[in-house]
Amino acid sequence: MGFNKVVKDANEACQGIQSGMTLMLGGFGLCGIPENCITELVNMKVNNLTCISNNAGVDDFGLGLLLQGKQVKKMISSYVGENAEFERQMLSGELDVELIPQGTLAQRCMAAGYGMPAIFTPAGVGTEVAEGKEMRVFNGKKYLMEYAFDADFAIVKAWKGDTMGNLIFRSTARNFNPVMAMAGKITIAEVEELVPAGELDPDHIHTPGIYVHRIFQGKQYEKRIEQRTTQKRA
C-alpha cells in the first residue's frame, strides 16, 4: 500500500460520495474542471448535493450536467450566469444559491487547507453579503469574518500527477484547483497524465501529495472552450 494513491477510474475515485454531501469542484468557467468525475457523479445519480464551485457550468457541460439531473440542492459560487437550467431551478426555488465574492470563495478554501478556522475579508462590506456576519475594523478598514469551508470531498483536475498524489497544474486551468485540493476531507484528483512517483520535479509541484487521497488518469478531456476569441493573422 504505502503511498500509492492510484485508483482505476472515476468510478473507483468517487466511491463514498453520497447524496446530501458537500463537494468542492475545481475549475473556473469550463477551464480546469474535473470532467471525468462530473460524468461519474451523473452516472451515480447522487443528489441533494451542496456544490462549492466558482461557476455552475453551462447547460450541457460541466456542473450543468448535475443541474440537468436535479442532483444539486445548493450551489455556492461567485458567478453562475451561463446556464438556463440553473436560472430556471433558481427562480422556481428548486435550487438554493449562495453567492460569494470570488476572492472570499478562494480564501475560504485556502483557510480550510491551512487549518485556519476563519479569515477576514474586505469583500462585501456594506453590501447584502455582509448581512448577519461579524464585522471588524483593522487599521481603520472594515473586514467581514468568513469561515473556512467544510467539504466532504474535493474533486480537482490537474495536468500531471504522480502515483503519490503530487499535482502540477497548467496555465489558468490552475485557478481554484490547488486551494480546493488542500481543503477536502477526502481529495480526488483526476489528471491528464499520470506518472510514477519521482518523475515530477519536486520544485515544480503545486499540490503536495499529502493533500490528495485518490488519483487517476482521466479517460478523455473535451476541454470545451466557453468564449472562443481569436484574432486573424495579419
Binding site: F28, G29, L30, C31, G32, N54, S77, S78, Y79, V80, G81, E87, M90, L91, V97, L99, P101, Q102, G103, T104, L105, A106, Q107, C109, M110, T121, P122, A123, G124, V125, G126, T127, E128, V129, W159, F169, R170, S171, T172, A173, R174, N175, F176, N177, P178, V179, H206, K223, R224, I225, E226, Q227, R228, T229, T230, Q231, K232, R233
Partner: protein, 216 residues
C-alpha cells in the same frame, strides 16, 4: 458624446507606465487597445494570470488559457500563473495598481452597484466585490444614463451595492468625474456636451469647477 471606444480611450490616459492593471468585462476590456505603445502595463486576470496577452490567432486557442471573462487569450513574456487565492491575495494586498470596471450605478459617496438587479436573474458578483473592496485606484467606465434616460450618477445607489466608498473616478459618455467630499466633480466634458446637459443628467451632487477640460 463619447462612444464605448471613446470612453476606453479616455481611461487609457489614466494608465501609467509600469502599472499592473485589472480590466473588467465590457468597456474596460477595450482600454487595452488604447494604451500608448511607449508605456508598458501588465494585465492581471483574476482567474490566475499576470501578463495577459492578446487573443490567439485562429487555430491556436488553448482551452487551458483564458482570462477572467472566459475568453481565450495568450501570455506575454514574463507572465506567471497562480491559484485563485494568490490572485485575490495580490488584489487585497493592493499590489494591483489600477482596476477598471463597469457599473450600473455610482453614488456621490463613491458607492457602486454593478452586480444585481432585483427581479432579474442574478448572475453573481464574481470578483467585483473583492476588487472594489481592495483596489487602491478604481475607475468606473459606464454610460451616464440608463436606457430610460435616468441618471446613473446618484445621490445614493438604488440597486444592491457591490462596494461602498471605493470609487474615486468615473468616466461616462458625457465626461470625467472625480468623486470626493460627497460629490461628483466634473473634470472634463465631451466636446459636444454642454455643462448644462451634464448638470441635467446628473442626479447626484455635481460640482462644476472653474476650469473644465474638453475631450475632443
Amino acid at each position: 458624446m463619447l462612444d464605448k471606444n471613446g470612453i476606453a480611450k479616455r481611461i487609457a490616459l489614466e494608465v501609467k507606465d509600469g502599472m499592473y492593471v485589472n480590466l473588467g468585462i465590457g468597456i474596460p476590456t477595450l482600454v487595452a487597445n488604447y494604451v500608448p505603445n511607449n508605456i508598458e502595463v501588465v494585465l492581471q486576470s483574476e482567474n490566475g494570470l499576470l501578463g495577459t496577452g492578446p487573443f490567439p490567432f485562429e487555430g491556436e486557442e488553448d482551452a487551458d488559457l483564458i482570462n477572467a471573462g472566459k475568453q481565450t487569450v495568450t501570455t506575454l513574456p514574463g507572465s506567471s500563473f497562480f491559484d485563485s487565492a494568490m490572485s485575490f491575495g495580490m488584489i487585497r494586498a493592493q499590489k494591483v495598481d489600477l482596476t477598471i470596471l463597469g457599473a450600473m450605478e455610482v453614488s456621490e459617496l463613491g458607492d457602486i452597484a454593478n452586480w444585481k438587479v432585483p427581479g432579474k436573474m442574478v448572475k453573481g458578483m464574481g470578483g467585483a466585490m473583492d476588487l472594489v473592496a481592495s483596489a487602491k485606484n478604481i475607475i468606473v467606465a459606464m454610460q451616464h444614463c440608463d436606457k430610460a434616460g435616468h441618471s446613473k450618477l446618484l445621490p445614493q445607489c438604488t440597486l444592491p451595492l457591490t462596494g461602498i466608498h471605493c470609487i474615486k473616478k468615473v468616466v461616462t459618455d458625457l465626461g470625467v468625474f472625480d468623486i470626493k467630499d460627497g460629490a461628483f466633480h466634473l473634470i472634463e466634458r465631451a466636446h459636444d456636451v454642454s455643462i448644462e446637459e451634464i448638470q441635467a443628467k446628473t442626479a447626484g451632487k455635481l460640482i462644476i469647477p472653474d476650469v473644465v477640460g474638453v475631450i475632443h
